[in-house]
């Protein structure tokens, strides 16, 4: 087409063929394309996020695991082996620390960066429920932690000579503590006004999980114990520590896991709200 043609015509070229969705003759608004349904969309987000691990996350997963194993080795110098309460606290705390590192710290960083660079626009311009994005991402980050938690718990069990019969509880702790911590991490990343603040908050949250989770409660001062009660990961730590004992109190394990689950639901609701707020300004 030449400029003259356009200029003399003064009107844009007509669409060559009438279109069902946009036919000018059709009175009233054009039909809306269907929105993505919750579960398929959640699955698609989860799968896409999980695939990112292959590209970007594997080195960080090693870091998370080695950090926890390193802490257990250090603590072995001051804590005796056997089924003692302190030994169990150290192993359970170190295992849950992997979850805190990845789900809280890395997810806060990820969402902080996504929001700052405008990457959220991609999701916000797709007809996908906010819940699917928030939950799918949080679930993927929680899943990243499964190998690290298991490796840490098994190495800890060997290092501190703990009975491993209750180790399966870790499989419940990962999704439940993972939901709570990933929800918090996502909310921090999405609400922090700047990505550096999101990173900082994620780091602080992880440090809290480290100090309050790994150090045996008997040695913590009273105000620190209140803080510990506020941190959702503490309940995961307590559940796992109980389960690693010679005679686990299953009622207490179930109680702690229930608290984890409830905070998980609340944290994910917070994350969904934060996502909605960040997506449309």
């Amino acid at each position: 087409m030449t400029d003259t043609e356009i200029h003399t015509a003064r009107t844009p070229r007509a669409a060559p063929a009438p279109v069902h969705a946009t036919a000018p003759a059709a009175a009233g608004p054009a039909p809306l394309a269907p929105a993505a349904r919750l579960w398929p969309a959640l699955g698609a987000v989860y799968r896409a996020q999980l695939s990112r691990a292959r590209v970007a996350r594997i080195p960080l997963l090693f870091v998370a695991t080695f950090q926890s194993i390193g802490i257990m080795v250090l603590m072995r110098g001051v804590v005796d082996g056997g089924g003692g309460e302190e030994a169990r606290a150290v192993v359970a705390g170190s295992a849950v620390l992997v979850v805190a590192f990845v789900a809280l710290n890395l997810l806060a960083q990820y969402f902080g960066q996504l929001r700052a660079t405008g990457g959220l626009d991609h999701y916000a311009t797709l007809p996908v429920p906010a819940t699917a994005v928030a939950l799918g991402t949080a679930a993927a980050y929680a899943s990243f932690t499964v190998p690290g938690v298991l490796v840490t718990a098994v190495s800890g069990g060997l290092l501190y000579q703990l009975p491993m019969g209750g180790l399966w509880v870790a499989l419940a702790v990962v999704p439940l503590a993972g939901a709570a911590l990933a929800g918090l991490g996502a909310a921090l990343g999405l609400l922090a006004p700047r990505p550096e603040l999101a990173t900082l908050c994620g780091q602080l949250g992880m440090s809290a999980a480290l100090l309050l989770g790994v150090l045996p409660t008997a040695r913590l001062p009273e105000p620190t114990l209140w803080l510990r009660d506020l941190l959702p990961s503490s309940y995961g730590v307590d559940a796992l520590a109980d389960a690693l004992g010679p005679a686990p109190d299953w009622a207490s394990v179930a109680g702690n896991l229930t608290v984890c689950a409830v905070t998980g639901v609340l944290a994910l609701a917070l994350a969904t709200w934060a996502y909605r707020r960040a997506a449309v300004r």
Binding site: D3, P12, T22, L32, A48, R52, Y123
Partner: protein, 342 residues
């Protein structure tokens, strides 16, 4: 939307045609100024300052302007990402100011950032986007394969976007944007960083969607050459306002028949030659480059002068060109620099 032909507005506003795919009226968006630490706060920035536009069905419509002109802010309001302070947006009969979420079900948007997709493979980026547009798995995979083939990305399907060149990454993002048919495409600088082959693939894909689906395309660009060749109509933006809106040919007619003469000097220009001294006064000087906008006969005379005698000895290069949209932009009083001419 009701007829608004009586609506007062800038000269660029056209009456609402009943078949407009997208109608924008008096859109205003103000950003608070950067936080002043002390003293008086600086005035807020009007990123959209009373914008009105009509885009017809099946039209390829461009927003042209330098960086900071307010193109992206405008597009974010049209895609439901940003709420306007005031004004109306009607997309295919839907009020987007009241229902911003409907935009996602009417249009496909290619933003400038790829961070959401960077760590996915090209294939998974396209497939996931299609799934999130509500397609079932089989349909999403079919669309993925088709669009990768169409854009020549099949060989790169298994590579993460992060490990691609800038142009390839952009093309992969476009592939994701094109999955799941949408009657309206909003593309923010789609060809940034692309080589000519990829650019051709982009324009062919866009044209195909217009021909087959009657798709309406809103394109953001700061590339004047692209604007002249692919757009049906262009709105020229400057400081949040539409300063002109017409076909590229119509806009160029605004600057009359003046041509642009660029002179690049090797050494000191011979200012003792009266014609050269006159030219110096009329020129926009940037280092060794003089740019003049002249009637054709005067330009011809000046070319004759500079291609002989002392002037030619000092001359490194010259180009004579018919007006471009850049000239239109400057003639209309555009303030910013930064339009691209390649």
């Amino acid at each position: 939307m009701a007829s608004s032909s009586a609506r007062p507005g800038p000269p660029t506003a056209r009456p609402v045609s009943t078949d407009a795919a997208l109608a924008v009226r008096d859109l205003v968006k103000t950003y608070p100024a950067g936080r002043g630490r002390r003293g008086a706060a600086p005035a807020p920035v009007r990123a959209s300052d009373g914008v009105s536009l009509d885009i017809a069905h099946g039209e390829i419509f461009g927003l042209l302007g330098p960086n900071g002109a307010g193109k992206t802010t405008l597009v974010k309001q049209l895609t439901g990402l940003l709420r306007p302070d005031s004004g109306a947006i009607t997309l295919l009969g839907h009020d987007l100011v009241r229902h911003p979420r409907r935009a996602a079900r009417l249009l496909a948007y290619l933003g400038q950032e790829s961070t959401a997709l960077d760590e996915l493979t090209v294939a998974l980026a396209a497939e996931t986007t299609a799934r999130l547009r509500g397609l079932d798995l089989a349909a999403a995979r079919r669309e993925r394969d088709d669009v990768l083939e169409e854009l020549g990305l099949t060989a790169l399907a298994g590579r993460p976007l992060k490990r691609l060149s800038g142009g390839q990454r952009r093309l992969a993002c476009l592939a994701a944007a094109l999955t799941g048919r949408r009657p309206v495409l909003v593309l923010d600088e789609p060809t940034t960083g692309m080589d000519p082959v990829a650019r051709r693939a982009v324009w062919a894909a866009v044209e195909r969607r217009r021909a087959a689906d009657g798709a309406t395309v809103l394109l953001v660009t700061h590339n004047v050459l692209e604007a002249e060749t692919v757009l049906d109509r262009v709105a020229v933006l400057d400081a949040g306002r539409v300063i002109a809106c017409d076909t590229p040919g119509g806009l160029k007619a605004l600057v009359g028949s003046d041509v642009r003469l660029d002179l690049v000097w090797r050494g000191d220009p011979p200012l003792h030659v009266p014609a050269i001294a006159d030219a110096r006064r009329a020129a926009t000087v940037a280092g060794r480059r003089w740019t003049l906008r002249l009637p054709p006969d005067r330009a011809r005379a000046l070319v004759t002068t500079v291609t002989q005698g002392p002037a030619f000895a000092a001359l490194d290069d010259f180009t004579l060109a018919t007006p471009s949209l850049e000239d239109v932009y400057l003639a209309l009083g555009g303030r910013g620099e930064g339009l691209v001419r390649s």
